[in-house]
């Protein structure tokens, strides 16, 4: 049967670290063509760019891990940001009240998604496409598709720094940490992954599948709301196009970060962070070397394709069995 192999196999090394290698090469390329790219400033602005999307992607990861999807996160972010901005600048309400109502509202939108997908069992993609349109429509209705700017007092909150680091980077890393703990160290997180493995087995194991899946959508909505706060603070205003196609960027981040669309797979940290940084490196890098924005969509497509291709090859390689004691166990040919 299988001997214990310790020889260094390029194949295994490539699959686990191959991706970081590609990322490194991309960074080297950008730094060569635009020297100022290789600087602390650039690194900070990469994380700064990724901050709102990292938060939204971490919420979306929970839904994807239950083998479903939510393409309305962009519109949830837009509607909650629009209402928050309206409350602050048009109605002059206190800022804390606006922030709280933004979060409550984004949860309610998550509840609506959960209701359509989990209770009425509409196909997740179609249901959240419907809510994507509806939320965008309501947002435009309330703002009459005008630009709603935040008052000067809080407009510059978005790019305050502590030393070289932007506050919203710290905030988003903090949120990612909490989401990672929820994912790996709470029953809710573990049951989300179990549902992603197999819904019928999950129910057999006593998991209240409907309730957990519903709650995953609410969490996803909430994260979209939090992401919206960072997004509007950075830009200082909410425009009719804010949040458009955030969902596809977030999904690209998750895929590159190893969260599989087949559910039950992937991590918040380091997974989502790696995915976010990769996309942000590409966008910022292209910005630094002055390439046109349309090259970015082309390159992003290529990166998703390559990471998917590597992932499909990876599933063919069977990892070794971790053994408690040192005695070799006979690994029979289980499929």
């Amino acid at each position: 049967m299988t001997k214990k192999q310790h020889n260094f196999s390029l194949r295994d090394f490539l699959f686990t670290y191959g991706f970081l290698l590609v990322l490194l090469l991309v960074i080297v390329y950008f730094s060569v063509t635009a020297p100022s790219f290789f600087s602390m400033n650039a690194a900070m602005s990469i994380l700064h760019t990724a901050a709102p999307l990292l938060i939204i992607a971490s919420g979306l990861a929970f839904v994807i891990m239950t083998k479903r999807i939510d393409i309305s996160v962009g519109s949830i972010a837009y509607l909650s940001a629009a209402i928050g901005a309206l409350m602050i600048s048009r109605m002059g309400l206190p800022i804390p009240l606006a922030v709280v109502s933004m979060l409550v509202l984004s949860c309610l939108m998550g509840v609506l998604n959960g209701f359509f997908v989990v209770i009425l069992n509409v196909n997740p993609m179609i249901a959240t496409f419907g809510t994507q349109l509806a939320f965008r429509g309501i947002g435009l209705l309330l703002t009459n598709s005008m630009v709603v700017s935040l008052p000067r007092s809080i407009r510059f909150l978005g790019n305050k720094k502590v030393g070289p680091i932007y506050i919203d980077i710290l905030f988003s890393l903090f949120i990612l940490l909490i989401m990672m703990l929820i994912h790996s160290r709470t029953q809710f997180g573990r049951q989300v992954v179990a549902i992603g493995n197999d819904i019928s087995i999950a129910e057999k194991l006593g998991i209240k599948e409907k309730r957990i899946s519903f709650f995953a959508y609410v969490v996803c909505g909430l994260m979209a709301g939090i992401g919206a706060i960072i997004m509007s603070l950075q830009v200082g205003s909410v425009t009719p196009t804010s949040g458009t196609s955030y969902e596809f960027t977030a999904i690209a981040m998750l895929v590159i970060g190893g969260v599989s669309l087949y559910g039950g797979e992937g991590t918040i940290l380091p997974g989502v962070l790696i995915g976010g940084i990769t996309l942000a490196v590409i966008e910022t890098g292209l910005n630094y070397i002055g390439a046109s924005v349309y090259v970015y969509s082309f390159v992003r497509g290529g990166v998703i394709f390559v990471s998917m291709f590597a992932d499909s090859l990876k599933t063919q390689v069977k990892p070794k069995v971790k053994i408690m004691e040192d005695e070799p166990t006979t690994v029979s040919n289980a499929q």
């Binding site: 087995i201 039950g264 690994v331």
Partner: protein, 503 residues
């Protein structure tokens, strides 16, 4: 006799249209393994599901340690120290062993899951079951046998007094089966009540102390295992009249060779498989689970790749080598997992049966790709009658059929195609005794009409009641060949081989 630790008294349960359990009473005491046997639909799993809290009985009482208890949910059962090891294992492939065991009962510390305690407790349970892999290992990386151990481990987590095993050995190799029996014996010594549901009567005799037989929802007798023989139990299971057809086997005249397999191998899976199959002959491919029989079958029809060897099939009057991807035209393959690889559940009986033969059910030349529905319906009727599949209409959805009828639909699919060779992998598994007899009769008829059939089964009586010749496989290669006069002992010994004697 000490008072029985567990007593189920006058249990009755009826589902719409069927009386599943009629007034069943039985007792089991600590430190004893009680075998619960009976044909499919006799009420075994219903009875145990009552004890496990999944089903509410219409009437009857359950006493534990002399006190009456009410069990209305799995958590009630667990609270009363009852653990249920299901047949289909509830495994979560991408998660760790510890997660799978604790998925709905994680212990918390400071608001987070306390993995330190979990791993520590898991190691204790796994050690007790003689497993040496780490609780952090992912389920998809361990063998089905080890997964069965994890399933049992989950049951043992809350140190139950009563443990119900529902056909645990159906996907275990002989080594793993022995390992499981040792664990059950240690649990017996520790004083737990063990209830062991099984089809394999040889297991009942080698493992259990007492046996109880259920037939049509009633107790049909029981007592110490030593007081009964195999035939007695079968008689109780299926009643007087059907006993004789159970063993009768008709002789088949073997014609000339129609398939010759030479040196098929796939590294690490099957190696150097060579045999030949003759017209009108039924060859039993016998061996323990995991010995590579299914892998040989799948290799022959091109479902799994091979690294070398040739397959030649009789065309006209000489043997022509055939590419692995082409063999499908000449071989009808009936796989072991009916629901995943055998049926199109939401589609009609007619569509299911014509699936393999569509290209021949078409209209004349200009419309050669259009299906001739009259022809399709008539072909379906022909084989439905021939195999007497009980259906209300051809358009009935296959998912509404019984297991036996579903298997007949699959066989009917290949009968329509009428290939010279059939491969049947566990054709009678999970069917009731009546359906098993029907399938065996169909196999014999096919052989009589000149088809060459390769049958794989892990039930010794099944394979012996159809095969003319046996090929015994162990660890991926053919180790022995026997004529029709082979005895059960020869087969079991060569299959388990020196291994069973050494341990």
């Amino acid at each position: 006799m000490t008072i029985p630790y567990l007593k189920m008294d006058g249990i009755a349960k009826s589902f719409p249209g069927v009386q599943a359990l009629k007034n069943v009473t039985f007792e089991a005491s600590q430190g004893e393994i009680l075998a619960l046997v009976g044909a499919n639909g006799a009420g075994k799993s219903t009875l145990m599901n009552v004890l496990g809290g999944n089903i509410e009985p219409n009437s009857g009482k359950i006493y534990i340690n002399g006190k009456e208890v009410r069990i209305s949910s799995p958590s009630d059962a667990a609270a009363n120290g009852i653990a249920f090891v299901h047949q289909e294992m509830a495994m979560l492939p991408t998660m760790s062993i510890a997660d799978t065991m604790y998925i709905s009962s994680f212990p918390y510390k400071h608001g987070l899951i306390d993995y330190k305690t979990i791993y520590q407790r898991c190691r204790v349970v796994l050690k007790r079951l003689g497993c040496n892999f780490d609780p952090r290992e992912r389920i998809r990386n361990i063998s089905p046998g080890d997964q069965q151990m994890v399933e049992i481990g989950r049951a043992l987590l809350h140190d139950p007094q009563i443990i119900i095993f529902d056909e645990p050995t159906s996907s275990l190799t002989s080594r793993e089966k022995e390992h499981l029996f040792e664990v059950i014996r240690t649990l017996k010594q520790e004083g737990s009540v063990i209830i062991y549901i099984s089809h394999f009567l040889d297991e009942v005799f080698s493992l259990c102390d007492r046996v109880m037989v259920l037939r049509n929802g009633e107790t049909a007798g029981g007592g110490l295992v030593s007081e009964y023989t195999n035939r007695d139990i079968v008689k109780m299971m299926i009643g007087e009249k059907e006993i004789d057809t159970y063993y009768e086997r008709s002789e088949h005249r073997a014609g000339e060779e129609i398939m010759r397999v030479k040196g098929i191998y796939r590294s690490g899976v099957i190696n150097d498989i060579s045999f030949s199959l003759r017209k009108g002959e039924v060859v039993g491919l016998w061996g323990q689970l995991g010995s590579g029989r299914t892998e040989v079958a799948r290799a022959l029809v091109g479902l799994d790749p091979i690294d070398g060897g040739t397959i030649s099939i009789k065309m006209g009057d000489q043997m022509m080598p055939v590419k692995q991807s082409e063999t499908k035209k000449y071989i009808g393959m009936i796989t072991e997992n009916r629901r995943e690889e055998g049926l199109l559940l939401p589609m009609s009986v007619c569509n299911n049966m014509s699936l393999a033969n569509l290209t021949n059910l078409t209209k004349k030349k200009p419309f050669s790709s259009v299906i001739d529905s009259k022809l399709e319906n008539s072909e379906t009727d022909k084989y439905v009658k021939r195999m007497d599949i009980k259906i209300s209409s051809q358009a009935q959805r296959v998912e509404t059929l019984s297991g036996g009828n579903q298997q007949k639909v699959i066989i009917g699919r290949w009968l329509q195609k009428n290939p010279p060779i059939y491969i049947m992998d566990e054709p009678t598994r999970g069917l009731d005794v009546g359906a098993k007899a029907d399938i065996r009769r169909i196999i014999s008829d096919l052989a009589e009409q000149g088809a060459g059939i390769l049958v794989i089964s892990s039930e010794i009586e099944e394979i012996m009641s159809v095969s003319d010749r046996y090929l015994v496989m162990k660890r991926g290669s053919i180790v022995a060949e026997f004529g029709s006069n082979a005895s059960k002992e020869d087969l079991v010994a060569t299959a388990t081989g020196a291994a069973s004697k050494k341990e």
